[in-house]
């Protein structure tokens, strides 16, 4: 067991993520306290507490409180008058102390606690969902990165915007890490549209699609070989590690991961990934393979984790905050921690051998009978519960021996259960053997014929507008049920896995099973198909076949049937692909779509095909023509900008294009955008008016309160009652105004989000430098409120 190096109880709950540790009171060197002795000053803990306040707590405060001289109990409050949505801190270049950064739903405040002065106060209409302070390569000074709804801003010390770009969803977490190992830090952003994006300056480097909303990211400082690693956590309880674009491992649990940090808890010189969970579990995992180094369960959900020197001891500790207001510290350099290391060292070797370099889940760490149990026990496996049952059993499998010691009893019980299951299995096998002895060799034996196999095909079903995944077992075998996993992309509404059963689980199996799939997004991925196959319908034993079925990116597009009336509302993107032949373009698009959707041959240097989406019947028309002096000129037409941008990005990836400029002609989108911008302007001016009205009314309320109080002291009851009556009515009015304003805020947010999304998609019609150029040109146009400039930035055409 690891004993906490200190424990403090604050009498305020700590909300998830709303805490940070910083040196707000000047540098960490010696301070002279009353005794005249110099000692290091510990960092101060800042916590967003109730009543729109921030609580500052430092260990020296508690010491003073213990001395009996401090009447305030060591806590200082900062009034902010707005709901705190993110909290962070950082030290600007040349500063001697940290600046507290407080984000709310519409603003960012940088506050110097020591001087009691605002560094700056900036309006952030998109809201502040996440904050990160740090240095991005190419910008001379550290910036405050603010993640909001579809937008990403960077502010410098004076509050001027130095960085802006768009992301697909709400940016929920950000880190600065060198993910491509070029020696420069990139900005890695996790958002709630399941994506992890890496930005170099304002240019998107790569995107990783995850299966759920990305909640946490944390950079890992490792030795040279692993410098591009970072850990992530999803809303569905998955945590894992990426090395650049490739996933190293991941595990999933039932609970929510609330906080993640990298800290060397066992003092071996390598950072572990510490995660805090909603059930109070504190867990440390090795970053190489995800093996558990330490696990403990606290009484209350863990809400924040960070590292720092809280007590002023000079060594960095792990600080763990819980919802109940408890703050604990763990010291990785303690003797306990060293014990942890020697204890786990030997066992971890074995474990590392079996899973290293493999996706722990993908490696099929669950044996067949566990899936069977899951299937039998819970026939409604199509929902998340079943999925999690598997995952949780997986978690148990994942535990290394060290953890088993800590959760000894539970583990033992499970092993016993497994043992009984195995004996039962053995017994029934023996039964079968007896039957076999009695005769009828092949029929009664539960096993499959030697040549048995399963064949998976994917086809488009135009009538039902879906993809049909057809599992065909070989002669004499029956397909009982199928589990289809999408582990990378989050394709299904149901979660990670979809199940199909023959005859709704009645047990009547046939040799063929068809599952309808409706992938939510266009992603090139592999589906992992597990088919439960038996020799006979009523057999007790099912055999599992694991197969992989590749899914092409645009598999939901089928050749268009009738395109005559759809020409009206089409927008298009036209661009020139240099140094490529038409055949290269053709085969590249062929790889993106399902087979037989792209024409095999092209006639007279021209290629043209039309596709319709199975989701909403929207049209995609692609025309490509080879130029006489090399290169291909292409035109992509569709009803929505989204499809065009996705196609261009996919094509650029297939052809490995580093740079692509394009012209965009999307009258419908531009028209919509114009409407949106007008709406935003209208909402803004309305908001201003509402704000003024509310301020006026609250001033009136203040004066009424004073008047009422005056009347009370003078015992002027008539005046008193009439003033209080006024007060009530003004108060009601104020509440009404507030409701109006919050509606206004919600509408404004939605409109801004849409604007940002359009800009992002427009930028994704380009690749490389032009893409970043579009984003920054759009921002400039938005700032100057020039709609023609914005349209020009989006279309790249001289005049529309």
């Amino acid at each position: 067991m690891l004993a906490p190096s200190f424990r403090t109880k604050l009498n305020t709950p700590i909300q998830p993520g709303l805490a940070c540790l910083g040196h707000f009171e000047g540098d960490a060197d010696a301070v002279h306290d009353e005794q005249g002795g110099g000692r290091r000053r510990g960092a101060t803990l800042a916590i967003a507490s109730s009543g729109n306040r921030v609580l500052l707590h430092s260990s020296s405060d508690t010491a003073a409180a213990r001395g009996g001289h401090d009447e305030s109990g060591g806590a200082r409050y900062l009034n902010l008058n707005r709901q705190v949505s993110a909290l962070s801190c950082g030290r600007f270049k040349g500063g001697s102390r940290d600046t507290l950064l407080v984000g709310s739903t519409s603003s960012l405040l940088a506050y110097d606690v020591h001087d009691n002065s605002d560094k700056f106060f900036a309006e952030v209409p998109e809201g502040v969902r996440s904050l990160r302070f740090g240095n991005l390569h190419g910008i001379g000074e550290p910036l405050i990165f603010v993640g909001g709804d579809c937008s990403l801003q960077g502010f410098d010390r004076s509050g001027t915007e130095q960085f802006w770009t768009v992301v697909g969803g709400c940016a929920t977490s950000m880190i600065l890490a060198d993910v491509d190992r070029d020696g420069k830090d990139e900005l890695v952003v996790g958002s709630d549209d399941f994506e992890i994006r890496a930005f170099q300056n304002e240019q998107s480097l790569f995107e990783i699609t995850e299966t759920e909303s990305v909640q946490h990211l944390c950079p890992l400082e490792t030795n040279e070989a692993h410098s591009s690693r970072f850990a992530y956590g999803l809303r569905n309880g998955t945590i894992g590690v990426y090395d650049g674009k490739t996933r190293v491992w991941r595990v999933k649990a039932k609970d929510d991961v609330q906080a993640m940090v990298a800290y060397d808890i066992d003092g071996d010189g390598v950072q572990e990934i510490i995660s805090g969970w909603s059930n109070g579990k504190l867990e440390a995992r090795r970053h190489e393979d995800g093996s558990v180094v330490y696990r403990e369960t606290l009484d209350s959900p863990i809400t924040a984790l960070f590292t720092g020197d809280f007590r002023g001891t000079g060594s960095e500790e792990l600080i763990c905050c819980t919802l109940s207001g408890e703050v604990r510290g763990y010291d990785g350099h303690s003797q306990d921690a060293a014990n942890l290391r020697t204890f786990t060292g030997a066992d971890a070797y074995n474990f590392g051998e079996t899973t290293s370099g493999m996706d722990a889940l993908a490696a099929g760490r669950f044996s067949g009978d566990e899936v069977m149990r899951a299937l039998r026990g819970d026939l409604a496996i199509e929902n998340d519960a079943g999925d999690q049952a598997i995952a949780s059993s997986l978690m148990h499998q994942q535990q290394d021996p060290r953890a088993r010691v800590s959760t000894h009893n539970a583990e033992l019980a499970q092993l016993q259960e497994q043992l009984t299951l195995k004996t039962m299995e053995l017994r029934s096998l023996e039964d079968n053997l007896k039957h076999a002895d009695a005769g009828n060799m092949h029929e009664s034996l539960g096993s499959l014929p030697a040549h048995a196999g399963v064949n998976v095909t994917l086809s488009q079903n135009l009538e039902a507008s879906c993809l049909d995944l057809c599992v065909q077992a070989s002669e004499g075998c029956l397909v009982h049920s199928v589990l289809i996993f999408s582990l990378d992309a989050g394709l299904f509404t149901e979660g990670e896995c979809v199940a199909g059963m023959n005859s709704a689980g009645t047990g009547a199996a046939s040799g063929r099973l068809v599952v309808s799939l409706r992938p939510l997004k266009n992603a090139a991925t592999k589906l992992r198909v597990q088919a439960m196959v038996s020799a006979r319908g009523a057999s007790e034993f099912l055999h599992i076949f694991e197969l992989e079925q590749p899914l092409r990116r645009f598999s939901m597009f089928a050749p268009a049937q009738d395109t005559s009336d759809r020409n009206r509302s089409l927008g298009n993107a036209s661009f020139f692909v240099p140094n490529q032949t038409l055949e290269a373009v053709r085969s590249a698009s062929d790889r993106l779509f399902e087979e037989n959707t792209v024409p095999k041959e092209h006639v007279s240097h021209e290629l043209c095909f039309e596709l319709a989406s199975l989701r909403d019947d929207s049209l995609l028309r692609i025309t490509a023509a080879e130029e006489p002096n090399g290169g291909v000129r292409m035109k992509v037409e569709s009803t929505t900008l989204e499809i065009v941008s996705e196609f261009v990005q996919a094509l650029a990836r297939e052809l490995d294009l580093q740079r692509l400029e394009a012209c965009l002609d999307f009258p419908t989108v531009l028209h919509h955008l114009e409407g949106l911008l007008a709406r935003v302007a209208e909402l803004r001016s309305l908001r201003q008016r509402l704000n003024a009205e509310m301020a006026d009314e609250s001033n009136y309320i203040k004066s009424l309160v004073v008047r009422a109080e005056d009347a009370r002291v003078l015992q002027d009851v008539t005046n008193l009652t009439s003033t209080y009556a006024d007060l009530t009515s003004v108060n009601l009015q104020l509440i009404g105004e507030y409701n109006k304003r919050s509606n206004n805020q919600a509408e404004l947010l939605a409109a801004l989000r849409e604007v940002n999304q359009i800009i992002q998609r427009a930028s994704q019609v380009r690749v490389g430098a032009p893409q970043a150029a579009v984003v920054s040109a759009c921002r400039k146009a938005l700032k100057s409120q020039s709609i023609p400039a914005l349209f020009h930035a989006i279309t790249s055409m001289k005049s529309s």
Binding site: N79, D115, N116
Partner: protein
């Protein structure tokens, strides 16, 4: 016969605003669409009620007590305007030497709206609580709430706003609620006049804000004037963050002293004096030697209780403007309290000279603060040994005194009496002082001391108690009460009072000694 329009303009220039307004009304009655005259009348009406709000303003009770704009609830000493009594950079000696105003601040040399009535909640009072409100109301009036002067909730603006309504019998000249502000926004000249009218005459910040917002977008957000006006409207509405943004933006376009001062005011409201000082420093870079900015800087330091810096800034002011009354008075007060009455006397004599000259120039009956000034001169004379002058000066002071300051003068006369050893005379004076102002803390305290000397311990105790209830900021009555209780053998009371005194003035050596002694006896 001059043209009526010309005559109206001439009267406007001669500052005969009421006549100008009357004339304009006549012309407008004939031709209601005469824009020039409309403009003139608007400006005349504005000028009549205009006050220069760039430097000072009064905090209303509501603003002061229900103020939740300050970020830090327990700021580090020396970084805030409303810290507790013991904070600040001044040496502990200052507290012994320099008396407190009833706001619990060191007396300033110059009366300003915020120096006298300390309505900001002190230590131990939660802002917005009923106790804070009551104590604020007690501090505002000299005695009971609601008697001495109307309790204003929101400072000067609302009060004047209501006063300016009275003149117009046949409805208001400009009815903003029926105006199409957007139309005016595109006519810069009219819009400016209208905006000033709304701000200074109607005190309708909400409408002014609407107009300014329209106007600033009409000129593509490039006119510094509109941005600073927007800031002012936000400031009046209490939306300080927005005000800050607007002022800063305005300063980026065009630097102006007024805007800097306004920005400083915003920071003072947010209780961030450091930022205000930064703004003033910037202003001084752009406008070196601007006395307005220098004065604001000096005042800010004074409010932060950084006496040395404040003094330096006031000296700077004098270097640029040798007849700056506030600077002279502040320096005089400083030298007086730092035991250099002769030098202080020179400053006050200078003030007297200025007063005389302005009096003769303007011919006005009442001059600057003559009571206080004579009083100060008298004290300086006394301390520098010019006894013959002392009583003459006090007589002068009393001749022009009214209820608000007469008690102070009598208190000082009594103080002189004590110094001369004429205790009977002093006793009389203090009695007069408390008869004029029943809340006069120092007079009660001194009366108590005199009663002790006379041997009337019961009376003395009552006097100290009265002094304590009249003002919670002074440590003297607490300490004296403690000492008296100690002498009478009432140790628990003594300890309680001594502790109270220590809270108010933690470095007072005698208090600390007494507490030690009592602790040793009791515990």
């Amino acid at each position: 016969m001059a043209s009526p329009a010309f005559l109206a303009m001439s009267r406007f220039r001669r500052r005969r605003y009421e006549e100008c307004v009357d004339l304009c009304s006549e012309i407008l009655a004939e031709n209601p669409y005469d824009k020039a005259i409309w403009l003139l009348k608007t400006q005349a009406l504005t000028a009549m009620t205009f006050i220069d709000d760039s430097d000072l303003e009064e905090l209303g009770i509501a603003d002061a007590v229900m103020d939740d704009n300050a970020t830090a609830s327990m700021p580090r000493p020396g970084t805030s305007l409303n810290g507790d009594n013991a904070s600040g950079k001044g040496s502990s000696l200052d507290r012994v030497m320099r008396p407190m105003s009833n706001a619990g601040r060191p007396n300033s040399g110059f009366v300003r709206p915020s120096t006298q009535n300390g309505m900001r909640p002190g230590t131990g009072e939660t802002p917005g609580s009923r106790a804070a409100l009551e104590s604020a109301m007690r501090k505002t009036g000299s005695s009971r709430p609601g008697t001495s002067r109307p309790v204003t909730a929101l400072g000067r603006h609302v009060r004047l706003g209501t006063a300016s309504m009275r003149a117009e019998s046949d409805g208001p000249f400009i009815d903003v609620s029926r105006m199409d502000l957007q139309k005016y926004a595109h006519r810069p000249t009219l819009a400016r006049a209208l905006c000033e009218f709304l701000l200074y005459h109607d005190h309708n910040a909400r409408k002014a804000l609407e107009l300014a917002a329209e106007a600033t977008s009409a000129c593509n957000f490039e006119d510094w004037f509109w941005k600073s006006r927007l800031g002012k409207c936000y400031y009046l509405l209490g939306l300080y963050r927005d005000a800050e943004q607007q002022f800063k933006s305005s300063l980026r376009t065009q630097q102006s002293v007024d805007t800097f001062l306004d920005l400083g005011k915003v920071y003072l409201r947010l209780d961030q004096p450091q930022n205000a000082l930064d703004a003033y420093a910037q202003a001084l870079e752009a406008f070196p030697g601007s006395t307005a900015v220098l004065t604001a800087k000096a005042r800010t330091y004074e409010m932060m209780r950084d006496g040395d810096q404040s003094l330096r800034a006031f000296k700077d002011v004098l270097r640029h403007d040798p007849s700056h009354v506030e600077a002279i008075a502040s320096l005089g007060a400083h030298y007086f309290y730092s035991d250099q009455p002769e030098i202080a006397l020179r400053f006050y004599r200078r003030l007297l000279e200025i007063t005389q000259s302005t009096e003769s120039a303007s011919g006005s009956a009442r001059s600057y603060a003559s009571t206080e000034l004579w009083n100060n001169v008298a004290l300086c004379c006394f301390h520098s040994g010019q006894y013959d002058m002392t009583m003459r000066c006090f007589e002068n002071a009393l001749a022009s005194a009214d209820d608000s300051n007469m008690a102070d003068v009598w208190f000082n006369v009594g103080h002189v009496g004590v110094s001369l050893g004429d205790l009977g005379f002093a006793y009389q004076c203090f009695k007069v002082a408390v008869s004029i102002d029943p809340q006069h803390v120092e007079a009660y305290n001194n009366l108590g001391v005199l009663e002790v000397r006379k041997g009337n311990q019961e009376d003395a105790a009552a006097d100290f108690a009265q002094a304590r209830s009249a003002g919670s900021f002074a440590y003297e009555p607490c300490f004296n009460g403690a000492l008296l209780a100690y002498k009478r053998g009432d140790f628990p009371t003594s300890l309680r009072l001594a502790e109270a005194s220590r809270v108010l003035f933690s470095d007072h050596p005698e208090t600390l000694e007494l507490v030690e002694m009592l602790r040793a006896k009791l515990v």
